[in-house]
């Protein structure tokens, strides 16, 4: 299967604090991988390196066969349009309505200039996350779960091939968490996306991921399917399932 992301020997430190110590991984087309790990182990740093929100110190990150660590800013924007990123809090633009939030990336990336076409794209993305009725609301009027869904709709509107989810269910009640996990799966089916899902929520990992990877001390410590890791004798791994 074709790799959409391939990371080789990725290293990152903030001053003397070494976060990533030679991370290697591959994400295949259509695959969902969940990354687990304690807080501060560098899960978010890893995903931010993939879209170059954070510059890595060394190593290679190939996204769609392009080494993004070597790219100029203008070139990286072209790759970024194909990679969606869902932030923890949704990161909605609070001075814009939901509709404007969704129109913004389309207008700015000049994906479409036709107003009715943009409107259709907004409706389709909102329908995909089941929140068409929130179209004219301001972000301040939305709940945490709704913000994440709208954030996901804003990501989907650019038709990304890869989606990076940064703790998609954190801070949500179990019912809404379950709904978000189901939504991640529906999106994969509908848009044929590949996903990296950073999560602490084992239920979310079980529902969404084909493969789980455990990050520890700046490296991947264990990997496998949910059932394989659940049966592991390793205490470090078993701790996540208790």
């Amino acid at each position: 299967m074709k790799n959409v992301i391939e990371i080789q020997d990725l290293e990152k430190a903030f001053g003397s604090n070494v976060i990533l110590r030679g991370v290697n991984m591959k994400l295949h087309k259509g695959e969902n991988i969940a990354i687990l790990g304690k807080s501060g182990t560098g899960k978010s740093v890893l995903t931010k390196c993939i879209v170059r929100l954070i510059e890595c110190d060394s190593g290679k990150i190939n996204v769609f066969d392009n080494d993004i660590t070597e790219m100029e800013v203008d070139q990286i924007d072209e790759i970024r349009k194909r990679v969606g990123y869902l932030f923890q809090g949704g990161a909605l633009y609070d001075s814009m309505t939901v509709k404007e939030n969704l129109e913004f990336p389309v207008r700015r990336t000049q994906l479409s200039k036709n107003k009715s076409e943009v409107n259709d794209m907004v409706d389709e993305a909102l329908e995909s996350v089941g929140l068409l009725e929130a179209k004219h609301k301001m972000p301040a009027e939305l709940s945490g779960g709704m913000k994440k869904r709208i954030g996901l709709a804003r990501t989907l509107i650019l038709k990304p091939e890869i989606i990076l989810y940064d703790e998609p269910t954190t801070g949500l009640d179990p019912v809404t968490s379950g709904e978000i996990s189901e939504l991640i799966m529906r999106i994969r089916e509908k848009y044929n996306t590949s996903s990296l899902i950073i999560t602490h929520d084992m239920k979310c990992a079980e529902i969404t991921a084909d493969k789980l990877k455990l990050l520890k001390d700046g490296k991947f410590y264990a990997e496998g399917s949910f059932d394989e890791l659940r049966k592991s004798d390793d205490r470090e791994v078993a701790a996540y399932f208790n």
């Binding site: 879209v51 924007d77 072209e78 349009k81 932030f87 990161a91 909605l92 990336t109």
Partner: protein, 260 residues
């Protein structure tokens, strides 16, 4: 001693890194002025917000400034029998120096801090990162529009402060003497020359540019955490105020060289 030398070395290094970052940020922002898509709607929106927010403050301050300056200066000129020079003296003081500097300082307090806090909050809530990762160039949309708006608006606000300041001055003169506004203004403008207005306008443009730029830089480079929002706003005001005085000093020297 070695510890002190090391601390100085680190401080100098930090200063140079910060200076380098500011220069890069400035160049990138200027570059964005010429890169499509041009956000005219956002520029008008920011211009409206800035003008709307600061107009009452500028008008009241300008009025009081002209009034007080006249009331304070008049007794000295009366002692020398030179009260007829009062309109000209006030006009030169306000248009050359006091109008631009006071307006710029007020804008630093009101606008620069506002931009610093707004962008700082956008940084903390990852809104700027969200723009960055979707390839929508936040520097172009968020920063360039704000910097351009302040660059265009501050000279207009200075003009308003000057006009209202002269009105305040006229009312102060009118308390003691029967002078018509036409005579007052004709005496005021007779004392002014092209070389009083041009350097003041040029420095107002620079004040506007740096007020927007510093607010944006402080907000854009805010570290994570809510505390940094307040720090960005505070730091924007302090830095912008300092830069206003530095620009004032430089433009005075240049206008002396060019127009003296």
């Amino acid at each position: 001693m070695k510890k002190l030398t090391n601390q100085i070395k680190i401080s100098v290094e930090d200063f140079l890194v910060e200076l380098g970052n500011i220069v890069l940020f400035t160049l990138n922002t200027i570059k964005q002025f010429f890169i499509a898509p041009f956000e005219f709607k956002e520029l008008v929106k920011q211009g409206y917000i800035i003008g709307n927010k600061t107009f009452p403050l500028i008008a009241i301050t300008g009025f009081i400034m002209g009034l007080v300056l006249t009331l304070q200066s008049r007794p000295v000129l009366v002692d020398f029998g030179a009260q007829s020079m009062l309109p000209g003296m006030i006009a030169i003081s306000i248009i050359r120096e006091i109008g631009p500097v006071i307006t710029a300082l007020l804008c630093a307090g009101k606008i620069s801090s506002g931009i610093g806090a707004e962008l700082g909050a956008m940084k903390v809530t990852e809104q700027l990162d969200a723009m960055e990762v979707s390839g929508t160039k936040p520097l172009n949309f968020v920063v360039a529009t704000r910097v351009m708006a302040t660059t265009l608006l501050v000279p207009i606000l200075v003009f308003i402060a000057d006009a209202v300041g002269l009105l305040g001055s006229f009312l102060a003169v009118r308390m003691y003497e029967k002078v018509s506004i036409v005579l007052f203004l004709s005496q005021a403008f007779d004392s002014l020359s092209f070389y009083d207005v041009i350097p003041a306008t040029i420095k107002s443009v620079f004040f506007g540019f740096f007020i927007g730029l510093i607010g944006s830089y402080k907000g854009y480079t805010a570290s994570r955490g809510t505390e940094s929002v307040g720090l960005s706003a505070n730091s924007a005001v302090v830095s912008a105020s300092l830069v206003i005085f530095i620009i004032d000093l430089i433009t005075v020297q240049f206008s002396e060289l060019l127009f003296a």
